[in-house]
């Protein structure tokens, strides 16, 4: 068994449909508010859904701007002074890809517009790594940068990369970021897969109809425990272990028994040196789709026993599925949950589903001492990452 180096989260930043800050989002989560709004960026009349969880009501910020904002928030929150050791501060970012909206606008403008050469201002937004470059520039970090594209677990890989750099002594601090931008392309894709909820996202509920796309970004400042302690920084939680797996099963369908998810969770527990019985709360992937929720619940039962008694909730019911950003955003929410000894609720839960028989902390937060927390992200294509946080 290999124990991860002691790495703690010393700062968090967040912009979601619920607010422009981590504390603002958390406050509304505790109030079980949901952040969906009507889409105005394109005509939704031919779709069966017209809502999503959009930042500031929609299309207000670019990916580069979001990255800058959350990176700055997290660094300020951590109290980290970067100037003197800029070369030892790395940026790792997870996202589904670069900006699509400028290309969509160009296509929508008609054939003549499309035939005109793409101008540099659009081209500069397309490379996915431009978000990390902007975040690094904002906070003055000159260390390594890396961008991860791994579907819904993209930013979990960014966190893992941060741990690897810190454990290997290649950085003193890593700002792990997740960014997700709303686009018509993605909305259409999930709509046509019949994965979008028409009105609300209801994870684990018998009447769940699908996910709702969430726009947003999050950031975490990661430091070795001794570095954080030496500068007197508060640590929200230690990242005790991360487990990975790939279903390697089918190009579109997840493994029906959640075999890959089980391996990721067990791998994370092993690396954290924790047992399943010690986990106080699981922040589920919990997309609210008809197929995925029962698979995740079966996997949880396989790891935690049947019936699964550990509280399992999904904040996607309130902030939407922020896709490539969800790993970092939801890990930041777990940090706040540990700090405040409060399990965030699953909103919109009304009717229990026997195939999802977990304690989903319905509709109201719950006070609980949280020493060990598991955060699951199970990406499209079977890319699974499970992360374990340890409170002090």
């Amino acid at each position: 068994m290999r124990k991860e180096a002691g790495v703690v989260v010393t700062g968090v930043g967040m912009v979601t449909s619920l607010g422009d800050s981590a504390e603002g989002t958390w406050e509304k989560i505790l109030a079980c508010e949901t952040g969906e709004s009507e889409i105005s960026a394109f005509d939704t009349s031919s779709y069966k859904s017209s809502r999503a969880h959009l930042v500031r009501g929609g299309n207000a910020l670019s990916g580069q701007e979001l990255s800058r904002i959350v990176a700055r928030q997290a660094v300020v929150d951590s109290g980290l002074r970067i100037d003197a050791r800029a070369c030892r501060v790395a940026v790792a970012l997870g996202t589904l890809g670069g900006e699509l909206r400028p290309l969509e606008r160009k296509f929508a403008a008609g054939e003549a517009a499309w035939e005109r050469p793409i101008d540099a201002s659009i081209a500069a937004l397309c490379p996915p790594q431009s978000f990390a470059a902007h975040a690094a520039s904002e906070i003055g970090a000159l260390g390594p940068q890396a961008t991860f594209l791994s579907a819904c677990s993209s930013s979990n890989h960014a966190i893992a990369h941060g741990l690897e750099l810190l454990e290997n002594g290649e950085a003193d601090a890593v700002v792990a970021i997740g960014v997700h931008l709303f686009s018509q392309t993605e909305f259409t894709y999930f709509h046509n897969l019949r994965s979008l909820a028409p009105d609300r996202c209801r994870p684990f509920d018998a009447r769940r109809r699908g996910l709702m796309i969430g726009e947003g970004a999050g950031a975490l400042v990661l430091e070795r425990k001794e570095s954080a302690r030496s500068r007197g920084a508060r640590g929200y939680a230690e990242i005790a272990g991360i487990g990975f797996s790939c279903d390697g099963y089918h190009v579109t369908s997840p493994h029906p028994a959640g075999e890959g998810a089980v391996r990721a969770m067990r791998d994370a527990l092993r690396r954290a040196g924790a047992s399943a019985g010690e986990i106080d709360f699981v922040s589920a992937h919990g997309t609210g789709t008809f197929v995925n929720d029962p698979i995740e619940c079966r996997a949880l039962e396989e790891v935690f026993g049947k019936p699964c008694k550990v509280p399992v909730s999904s904040v996607k019911s309130m902030i939407g599925h922020t896709m490539g950003a969800s790993g970092v955003i939801e890990t930041a929410i777990c940090c706040l949950a540990i700090r405040d000894s409060t399990i965030p609720p699953t909103a919109n839960f009304e009717l229990a589903d026997p195939s999802c028989s977990v304690d989903c902390v319905p509709n109201a937060p719950r006070r609980a001492r949280l020493r060990w927390v598991m955060k699951n992200s199970f990406g499209f294509g079977g890319n699974n990452v499970s992360l374990i946080l340890k409170g002090s």
Binding site: S46, F107, A123, A132, P144, A146, S150, T185, S245
Partner: protein, 394 residues
Amino acid sequence: MRGHPVLVTGVGVVSPFGVGLDAFHGGLVRGKRAAVERPAGKERVALAKAASFEAAEFVDSRALKYVGPATRMLSVAVKLALADARLETAEEEIALVVGTAMGNLPQTASYARRIVRGSPAELSPMLGFDAAQNSATSFASAVCGIRGCVRTIACGWISSGVAIEIAMRMIGLGLAPIVVAGGVEQADPLLAELYEALGFFRSETSAQLSQAPPRRAFLGEGAFVMVLETVDTAWKRKPKVYGRIAAALSSSGHPVQSSVRAASPFLEKALAGAEKGPGEIDAVSAGGCAIAPEDEFQRAGLRGVAGEGVPVAAIGALIGETCGAATAAQAIHALASINYRELPGVAEEGKEEAGALDAEVLSRPRRGHFRNVLVCSSDPGGGLSAVVVSEIEP
């Protein structure tokens, strides 16, 4: 990062010269530029496509009909590499780490165009199946039965160098015993247009390294992956060992001018990571694709660290700028040069400054015993990447 003994036990290649390492190396040492096509109607960068291949001969999946070139190339390359290393994915926890600058952006854009121009709600979801920028890696992991950690890395044109570096770190930290690592990129008119818009392919920026008449850069494509593992995992299967990755290092995202200044110290650091001195480097694989910022970095760096008369190969001149896949392509060509004792595209010793590339010389291969090859590549945005590939001593 400092040298873990990481072996290369399998190689998978799809390149403009064909499928497989022999086709790739054979094409390089023939010294002729890959066939190129120019997108119709516009004065755009030429494209060197992967030579015609039938992915279905290698990959058994009905979904192949829904996927584009990047996904097909990568799936075939990963399949070949696993077979070459005699690996059964069901029995091993194998990771896959792939670098790409733009991934499946052309497929994403094509899907987006259909959406905003047509009846979006009626489009088949299968048309969007290949449209995520990590679709190639995701598809390859599924059809090859990869069960370990799967990552797609996007760090511009040094993406596959970063992927190799991450794979080395994962092995060194005990996070994955075996990693398939490399890169994939497609030569697509949209990408050519984007890069032109960013100023990467302006004709006046061509051939800054060369003392010959300017060459025009062109976009290449391919999938280039290696199976990386330690002796501990390899010895049971006794696969062919192509060599070892003695060091892999990258540095991302700094402005071009500072990266040119940083080139020599950066390459020196890579050599130190491999525990090699400049005198121990027998050959250099530079990108040499005739794009000014890249060539300038490499010239500056190689002046600083390559000894007198060290031959320099520049496969970018033969297969084109393979962008996010370039470092992996160069690393595999370095392995081939070590194993076949033949280096393509060599600058003549003594006649030109170290690192200078010449179009005429590129057609002449050099035979020799190459023990250590320094691979260097860069991104026009300022990223630097270096890999030291070494022979395995008996």
